[in-house]
């Protein structure tokens, strides 16, 4: 057993975990953050994507002890109180989800993708960058649409923020 100490969704948390415990299991089972899902055993599906120190990471590829000391953002911490994050809002508006199981990972991947492309995104880039996230329900059509729309919104709001400054 090892001690694991993390900043998760803005809160300092700690706990003991078996050395073999993956970050995703620590989040789900120790912290009760069940929005992060496990969809495969081979780090292929992306249902478990969270942000570790600002980068999108499949939380099944990392041991909890490895993540100790890091800052983690999960789907539960993405919205600003009652205000949805623009990516969450876009997934809802554009019907970018059906069963909802892959959705948290998709949204965490999308927010990371958008922040890495402040210049904006096109369909081919979005599709290429979604390679590590599998959805079985939507055929990706509306996920791509939602990410493109969120990218536009966030670019717009940044522009406005800059103007205001």
């Amino acid at each position: 057993m090892s001690d694991v100490s993390l900043m998760v969704n803005g809160k300092r948390v700690s706990g003991a975990a078996e050395d073999r415990t993956l970050l995703v299991h620590f989040l789900r089972e120790n912290l009760g953050l069940t929005g992060t899902h496990v969809g495969c055993d081979t780090s292929q599906c992306g249902a478990c994507v969270v942000h570790v120190d600002g980068k999108a990471v499949k939380s099944c590829t990392m041991l909890a002890v490895q993540a100790s000391g890091s800052t983690v953002l999960t789907i539960e911490g993405l919205a600003n109180g009652a205000d949805l994050h623009p990516v969450q809002a876009a997934f809802k508006e554009h019907h970018g989800l059906q069963c909802g199981f892959c959705t948290p990972g998709m949204i965490m991947t999308a927010t990371d993708m958008i922040s890495r492309h402040p210049e904006g995104l096109d369909e081919a880039t979005v599709r290429a960058e979604l390679d590590g996230n599998i959805c079985r329900c939507t055929g990706y059509h509306n996920i791509v649409k939602a990410i493109l729309a969120a990218s536009m919104t966030m670019k717009g709001s940044k522009g406005k923020a800059k103007q205001a400054a």
């Binding site: 078996e18 073999r20 789900r28 009760g32 953050l33 069940t34 929005g35 992060t36 899902h37 496990v38 969809g39 495969c40 055993d41 081979t42 292929q44 599906c45 249902a47 999960t74 789907i75 539960e76 993405l78 919205a79 949805l84 969450q88 997934f91 809802k92 508006e93 019907h95 989800l97 059906q98 069963c99 909802g100 199981f101 892959c102 959705t103 948290p104 949204i107 369909e123 979005v126 599709r127 290429a128 979604l130 390679d131 996230n133 599998i134 959805c135 079985r136 329900c137 939507t138 055929g139 990706y140 059509h141 509306n142 996920i143 791509v144 649409k145």
Partner: protein
């Protein structure tokens, strides 16, 4: 249509919890004292179990119980069953072999459950499962249905000689032979429909909880139909009587058919909870899902189609071998028979049809309904045949189809179905226009300049949904009725709960069902809650599959709403001292037509519950129940056109355009309907280009992870052009046909027709991977 009513593109109510990580799936459930299970599974495709030694495992850290099939049998737990009786053409009943939830004498496929281990943690359960020692005597295995009936093939179940489960036929052999006798042209093809793994993103899971004090069981399970699960577990598996068994299917992460069935794990977790005295949770890992979820398709077919000199179809002969795997799953017998061969008339006038289906055991995972269930297999046969015929005759594929379309309704086919309404030419025209079919030659030439082979292919599908009139399916062998139930509860403050026997696992029922209520009573969507998936809340229901929740589930709600409306109008008429026939419901109030006299909806509801001033003899309250049994199947249909570019150097296929033109009848929420089509298309295109479950000859599944089984990813697919041109279904009050499976049914032949058009070879197996396409191109050059 109001902004939240029928026909409106309303964003989904249920999304809030899913996009914020607050969905509640079975693996998210925690019950006090809950422990974790791991299953020990057969590593062999076919073997005798000589000895099971659990001593070492029992002594491992954290282990609470290690239980075997012998103990399960001793406690009277029953075998799994197939619930649809099929009779062979000689009149004999299907030969169903025994399927124990835990194998105790023989294993029949890799993944067959043998032992359950319950431990404090998931890790400890897995460690202990590794320590269970089972001695097997390996037996010869067979995985290919076409070889399973050969002399010398291993006998898998003593009940089924030569592994033949049934030899069934439909249609008229003599009429068909006579039609072929008159034929000017005969088109013949051998067609394989590849085996698929459904792969809902949420792996199957079960949490069984036995409450000793109450002698009562609760099962949280990843089910598309929790009531059927309770019924079957109670009536056939002797888990507990229905009043002592509650089944809850909370948020379920996709099903696509694979979560219809009752699997060994939920039965064993319930039983193990009683044996060990703790709640027991099991969650499949992905490889377990690949090994043990019911697979789909796996047909080998020989088909012949007879045409007259004017290219009108005279007759169709079909011989199909269906691989049902090692055990008969719950509806496995219906999928390759009544859900398949009854659709072999396609969209066409075919005077004579005869189809023969042999269902065969092999040492592979059980095969059952997967999105489309029999109808994709039928459509693939029909639409590959039509395309091939057009090429052989040197005529336009569109015009050959158009010439043979059914154009007057009702239309009785020679294979049971009576099509009620449709306009197949309208869908064909819409698809041809949307795809700029006329401009294809130019695009092909432009592609050729880039060194690419461009091809176009179409598929005109029909399916039977809304399954189905109970008496009809009963006469065909179904063990259950296929009606649906609804209960509408108007609360004293006017808010409404709708309890439905349908189950939503991505379909958006919480929104579309509420739109129906909004349309009728003007109550805001936010004041309407849809309750489903819990046998303690909803009395009975048949669940969601076969695109039936709209046509059947919502029709039940309409019936209940009719009753609520009638009583509400009586109350309002009494309060307003008006005639009941003059009351209309508008803008959230009950009004006397043509006057300004009205009572708000919530006041009427309150009056129903205060009961201070009700019409004489009326019972207080406002709650109504209805059961709806459809009068016919529904018949969604449409035309899909796929355009591809193939790189002849690599065999890589790119789908450059995909057009879907569907007829779904009336539509409640176009946004959700389009989403259903997109998802179906992705699965159908996945089947055509990428997906295939492969066993080696010893019965090991070679494609048992996402490293080996190619799931469609975003970069494999284009954006889709979808549209609908709808003819209302005359068979149900809403005119709905259903949209859940169309994409998966119609798309595979469109893709393969496009690739074969591009490469100039008609011989191409699914999945048309780059190596398969490359080899097919090379073969045309020799």
């Amino acid at each position: 249509m109001g902004i939240e009513g029928v026909g409106a593109r309303v964003a989904r109510k249920e999304d809030k919890r899913f996009i914020t990580g607050a969905g509640r799936y079975v693996d998210d459930m925690v019950v006090p004292g809950m422990k974790h299970a791991a299953f020990v599974r057969s590593p062999h495709a076919h073997a005798q179990i000589k000895k099971i030694d659990v001593k070492k495992a029992q002594g491992m850290p954290g282990v609470i119980g290690v239980l075997t099939g012998k103990e399960l049998k001793a406690d009277g737990i029953g075998n799994l069953i197939c619930g649809w009786m099929i009779h062979s053409k000689d009149g004999s009943p299907m030969k169903m072999g025994a399927w124990s939830p835990l194998a105790f004498d023989r294993v029949r496929y890799v993944g067959d459950a043998v032992v359950i281990v319950v431990a404090e943690t998931k890790g400890q359960a897995r460690d202990a499962a590794e320590a269970v020692e089972i001695t097997y005597k390996e037996l010869k295995a067979v995985v290919d249905a076409s070889k399973a009936m050969d002399k010398g093939a291993p006998q898998i179940h003593p009940e089924a000689d030569n592994n033949l489960i049934f030899d069934w036929d439909i249609g008229n052999a003599d009429d068909t032979a006579a039609a072929f006798g008159k034929a000017a042209h005969v088109v013949k093809m051998d067609i394989i429909n590849n085996r698929l793994v459904p792969n809902a993103m949420e792996p199957r899971a079960a949490l069984g909880h036995y409450d000793k004090a109450e002698d009562h069981y609760t099962c949280w399970t990843t089910s598309q139909n929790p009531h059927v699960a309770r019924l079957v577990m109670s009536a056939f598996y002797n888990v507990a009587p229905e009043n002592k068994l509650r089944v809850i299917a909370p948020d379920v992460g996709g099903g696509f058919g694979s979560k219809i069935y009752i699997y060994p794990e939920e039965i064993v977790c319930l039983w193990a909870s009683k044996k060990t005295g703790v709640p027991v949770k099991w969650v499949a890992d992905r490889t377990e899902s690949f090994l043990t979820d019911a697979h789909g398709r796996d047909h080998h077919t020989h088909a012949e189609m007879a045409f007259d000199k004017d290219h009108r179809i005279l007759g169709l002969k079909v011989e199909t071998q269906a691989n049902l795997g090692a055990y008969m799953s719950l509806f496995s017998s219906a999928t390759p028979t009544y859900l398949y061969a009854t659709l072999l008339s396609g969209q066409y006038n075919i005077p004579a049809i005869h189809a023969n289906v042999k269902a065969i055991y092999t040492n592979t995972a059980p095969v059952d309904a997967y999105r489309g269930a029999g109808r994709p297999e039928a459509t693939f046969v029909m639409e590959r045949m039509m395309e091939t015929a057009a090429r052989q005759f040197g005529v336009s594929p569109a015009e050959l189809r158009r010439k043979n379309f059914v154009t007057s309704f009702p239309h009785q086919t020679p294979v049971i179905m009576c099509y009620d309404a449709g306009d197949y030419a309208a869908s064909l025209d819409a698809a041809m226009q949307a795809s700029d079919y006329a401009g294809f030659a130019k695009r092909k030439a432009a592609a050729a300049n880039k060194g690419l082979l461009r091809g176009i292919g179409m598929s005109c599908y029909i399916e039977a949904c809304g399954i189905a009139p109970s008496a009809a399916v009963g006469s065909l062998g179904a063990g259950v009725g296929l009606w649906e139930s609804a209960e509408v509860r108007v609360n004293a403050v006017g808010t409404i709960e709708v309890l439905t026997g349908s189950h939503s696992h991505g379909q958006g029922h919480e929104t579309t069902f509420a739109q129906l209520v909004n349309e009728r009573f003007g109550v805001p969507l936010d004041s309407v809650s849809i309750v489903h998936g819990d046998t303690d809340k909803v009395q009975m229901g048949m669940g969601t599959y076969g695109s039936r929740s709209g046509a059947v589930g919502m029709s039940a709600i309409v019936k209940a709403l009719d009753k609520v409306e009638a009583k509400a109008k009586k109350i309002a008429a009494h309060l307003l001292e008006a005639d009941e026939g003059d009351i209309i419901i508008e803008n959230g109030a009950l009004k006397v037509a043509g006057t300004d006299k009205n009572v708000p909806w919530f006041q009427m509801a309150l009056a129903a519950y205060t009961a201070h001033n009700l019409p004489g003899g009326m019972e207080p309250g406002l709650k109504e129940t209805a059961f709806y049994d459809p009068s016919n199947f529904t018949f969604p249909a449409g035309c899909y056109i796929c355009e591809v570019e193939v790189d002849p150097e690599t065999g890589v296929t790119e789908i450059v355009q995909f057009v879907a033109a569907d007829d779904f009848g009336n539509i409640i929420n176009p946004m959700i309907v389009e989403g259903q089509v997109h998802g179906g298309l992705a699965q159908g295109i996945g089947q055509a280009l990428l997906e295939g479950a492969h066993y080696d000859n010893s019965g090991q599944l070679l494609t048992a992870s996402y490293m080996d089984y190619t799931m469609p990813r975003a970069g494999d697919l284009p954006s889709f052009k979808v549209s609908t041109s709808n003819t209302p279904c005359p068979g149900n009050p809403l005119g709905i046909k259903g949209c859940g499976e169309a994409g998966a049914i119609g798309s595979p032949p469109a893709v393969i027709n496009a690739i074969t058009d591009a490469i100039g070879s008609n011989d191409l197996a699914m999945p048309a991977s780059p190596s398969t396409v490359w080899a097919a191109i090379r073969a045309t050059k020799h």
